[in-house]
Every structure is written in structure tokens, then in C-alpha cells.
Amino acid sequence: MSLEILTFSFMHRALISGIAIAILCSVVGLFLVLRRYSLFGDAIAHSSFGGIALGLLAGIYPLWAAYGVSIASALIITKVKDRYNISGDASIAVLLSSGIAVGLVIIGLSGGFTIDIFSFLFGSILLVSVDDTVLILALTGAILIVILLLYRQLLYSTFNEEQAKVSGIPVEKINYLIVFMAGITVVTSIQLVGVLLISALFVIPNVTAIMYGKGFKQTAIISMSLSIFSVVVGILVSYIFDITPAGTIVLISIGLLAGTMAIKSAGLLSKN
């Protein structure tokens, strides 16, 4: 039984997509966590809920509508935040609630399409198509290339904005780029864990990895590994026991975090 599941082609697609999303979320999430923007992924995900509802109402493929709405609203909220000097957490709350509000109103207007909405809320990784898998791989590849090319600028402006500016780095543009990449990453990941659990993939492996890693690259690699482990084991375990993959994946990564904290308290890891 346990080996047989590895021969199903839907399982291949689920695992390949899952691994790509795990890598993408942990890398983009590391920048967000270090910028104290941990909940930004959550806010974008909630705004994508509005986009999904809009797509279902208008008869457009919901994820395309979600890409458009999420990226646009993330960029707008970033602009508004800077323009009116709103704090980061308050702007996240605005974005988060407005996305859900728009989604609820549209669902109400349309008389409800609960079954479709359900798979977007909680993910449906076992249902990804070949086209979805190709899109997920392409977007993951594209974002990783951008991150590798702009590695120094991204890291430096995350570490200290003012000093990065003095070194001639276009910090504002880099900030918008990070928001843009976060928007794409969130909507791409909806298929794996759904709208409600996305910030878990952004945040938890990174919080764990920061406790182990010394340097930035080492931390990123540890975070990716933890994330891939949680996703792969989560998908397999959830299939075998017939439970929800999204919840299982997130619980495994929380388990890894709890284990790490236990190791640290026992004094087996250095304090920093």
C-alpha cells in the first residue's frame, strides 16, 4: 500500500508541485519574516479569496483572477502604507479584511458556489493537473532566478534599508519586487494548502531554520529542506490515513519547530 501510492500519476504531480511550492514559499517567506512582514502572505492570501470569488462570478479561471487581484492589491497597499505612513501590521489588517469582505459579498450576490470555494480555502494538491504543475514549476523557476540575480540587493535592503540606500541600491523598487513575488508565490501555493494556511508555509520553516542557521544561505537551505520534508511527508501521510493534506503539512512543520525549540531549551543548540 505505502509504496503503491508512489506509482500514481496524480501523486507524482502532487509531490512535484508540492516540492516546488515548498522551495518557493520558504525562500520568499524568509525575506518576509526578516522584514517583520510575516503576516503579509496571509493578507495576500485573503485578498486572493476576493479574486477567486470574482473569477468564479465572472467565469474566468479563478486562479488567474486571484493572481490579478492579489498582486494589484498587495502593490496598492504597499503604496498606500508608504504614502499615508500606516504601520505594517495595520496595513496587513486592512488588506486581509478587505479581501475577505469582497469575497463574501460576491459569494452572496452570486447565490453561493461553496464547493469550488472550499477547495481554494483548504487546498487540493491531489487534484493538480499537468498544466497546473507546469505553471507551478515555471513560476518557481522564474522567481528563484530573480532572487539569485538580485540576491545581494534583496538581502542588503532587508538587513538595513538605510545602509542599502547609501550603497546605491534602489530600495523602493526592491520592496515592490518582494511584494510582487510574494503575490505570485501566495496564489501559486493556494493549490497546496489553501488560502487559510498559506502563512504557515511562509513563516514556520523559516522561524525554525533561523534557530539553526548561522549565515543567510545556510538558513535558506535549512528552511527549504524542512519545508520539503513537511510537504512530502504531509502529502503521503495524509493520503495513507485519508486526512486533509494542508492541515497535515502544517502540523508536521509545527512539529519540527517544536522539536527544534525543545533541542534549543535542552542546550544542544547555541543560544543565537
Binding site: L155, N160, K165, G168, N272
Partner: protein
């Protein structure tokens, strides 16, 4: 050779004039100490020179070019902030931090070289947040120096640092200026330190009330007294 040329620099904040018609020049090889009490406009002056504040009247030129027209001068400039702000558990090592300052990333050897020069090579794989204030400061100097800048700008860099680190830091600055001929602009409210190190002094309190060789400043009792009174008043005001 003229490195910095500041003409009629005025910065008006909504409630206060932070800088009023400030003009001075810095030549290659100068070690300029900018002194002035808290609130004298030192940070505003630095922010304007570094391109962080662009709302000023007057002109600032580096290497003969107006900084509003070209940002190229930033490549020749190293900057050490007063107290670099970062998350204590930010996962970067000492060499990661120094690498951020490196314009050409293929120059990995430069990182080792500069870390050795500043006596922090053995710390290269330690996380930055684990280090003492004095060690962190040397890391940020290394970051500022890793591109071989022609000019180094330091903003009150000894705040909250132990005496032994300060002395080491001063000897490093002296060597950079005398042996490597790096032009240094350094803001401080420590008159003794400025007297020891700088060969030029600019005395700032919103306007520039002295600019010239440090010997002239320190041999003029009236000037030194004026400065001390101004900073003493400020000190009293703050307490």
C-alpha cells in the same frame, strides 16, 4: 584634489531650520572632524550628503559632480552609521555582512583581506548578532571599506563602545588616513578625540561657525570655550 564641495546648504524642517547656509570643502587626504552639540544638524548634514535627504537648498558635489545629478559617488564612498540597526537574530554571518558592501561579488578575497586588516578574521563565520558592540562596529567598518572607497564617512561611531575597542578603532582610522590616504569625515562630540585624530575641524551648530585646520581651532581658546558652552547648554537642556 577637491573631494567634497558643499555650497550654501540649507535644510528647513517644518518647525526648525536644521542647517543654515553651510558651505565647506574637503580635500583628498583630509581627516575632517565635524563637531557640534546634539541637534546641531550633524545628522541632517550627513543624510543630505548620503542622498537620504534630498529636500535641501544649495549644492553638494562629490568629485566635482552634483549628487542630485549622479549617484556614482556612492560607489567611492564607505559609510559607517552611528548604531547599525538590525534584528538581533538576523541570520547573517560577519562575512555575509561584509559581502553586502561588495559591489563586485567575484571579489571574495577582498572580504578575507579586510577582515584580517581589522583583526576580526576569526569571527568571519559567527552570526553578527552574537558579537559585542565593538566587534560589530569593526564589521561595519569592514563593510564600508571592502570596495576600497576614496572617502569614509562615520557618524559618531563610538557611542556605546568600550574603551579598548575605541582605542583600536582610532588606530585603525589613523592608519587608513595616513597610510592608505583615505579621506575621512567623522562626526563626533568628543573634542579630545577630534583633537587627537583630525587634521581639520568643522564646528557646526545649524550654521558653520568654524571650518579649518584643527590646530587653529584647538589653539584658539575662545572658540573651544564657545563650543564647550554650546554643547554644555545642550547637555543641560537634554537632562
Amino acid at each position: 584634489m577637491l573631494i567634497v564641495e558643499i555650497k550654501n546648504l540649507t535644510v528647513q524642517y517644518p518647525d526648525v531650520k536644521a542647517l543654515d547656509d553651510v558651505s565647506f570643502t574637503v580635500n583628498q587626504g583630509d581627516f575632517l572632524g565635524i563637531i557640534g552639540p546634539n541637534g546641531a544638524g550633524k545628522s541632517t548634514l550627513f543624510d543630505s550628503m548620503l542622498g537620504l535627504n534630498t529636500k535641501y537648498k544649495g549644492t553638494i558635489k562629490f568629485f566635482g559632480e552634483d549628487i542630485k545629478k549622479s549617484k556614482n559617488y556612492l560607489k567611492e564612498l564607505g559609510y559607517v552609521p552611528q548604531k547599525p540597526i538590525f534584528e538581533k537574530n538576523f541570520p547573517v554571518t560577519v562575512s555575509d555582512v561584509v559581502r553586502m558592501g561588495l559591489n563586485n561579488e567575484s571579489d571574495e578575497n577582498k572580504i578575507d583581506e579586510i577582515l584580517q586588516q581589522l583583526w576580526i578574521h576569526e569571527l568571519r563565520n559567527r552570526r553578527i548578532g552574537e558579537l559585542s558592540g565593538g566587534q560589530q562596529q569593526r564589521v561595519f567598518i569592514a563593510k564600508a571599506l571592502v570596495n576600497n572607497p576614496k572617502i569614509l564617512i562615520l557618524d559618531e561611531p563610538v557611542t556605546g563602545i568600550d574603551q579598548q575597542s575605541i582605542e583600536l578603532f582610532f588606530s585603525i582610522l589613523r592608519e587608513l588616513n595616513s597610510k592608505q590616504k583615505i579621506t575621512i569625515i567623522w562626526s563626533s562630540h568628543d573634542l579630545d578625540a577630534v583633537n587627537q585624530l583630525a587634521n581639520h575641524v568643522a564646528c557646526l551648530n545649524r550654521t558653520l561657525f568654524f571650518h579649518g585646520e584643527s590646530e587653529k581651532f584647538f589653539s584658539d581658546d575662545e572658540l573651544v570655550k564657545q563650543y564647550s558652552e554650546a554643547s554644555m547648554q545642550e547637555h543641560m537642556h537634554h537632562h
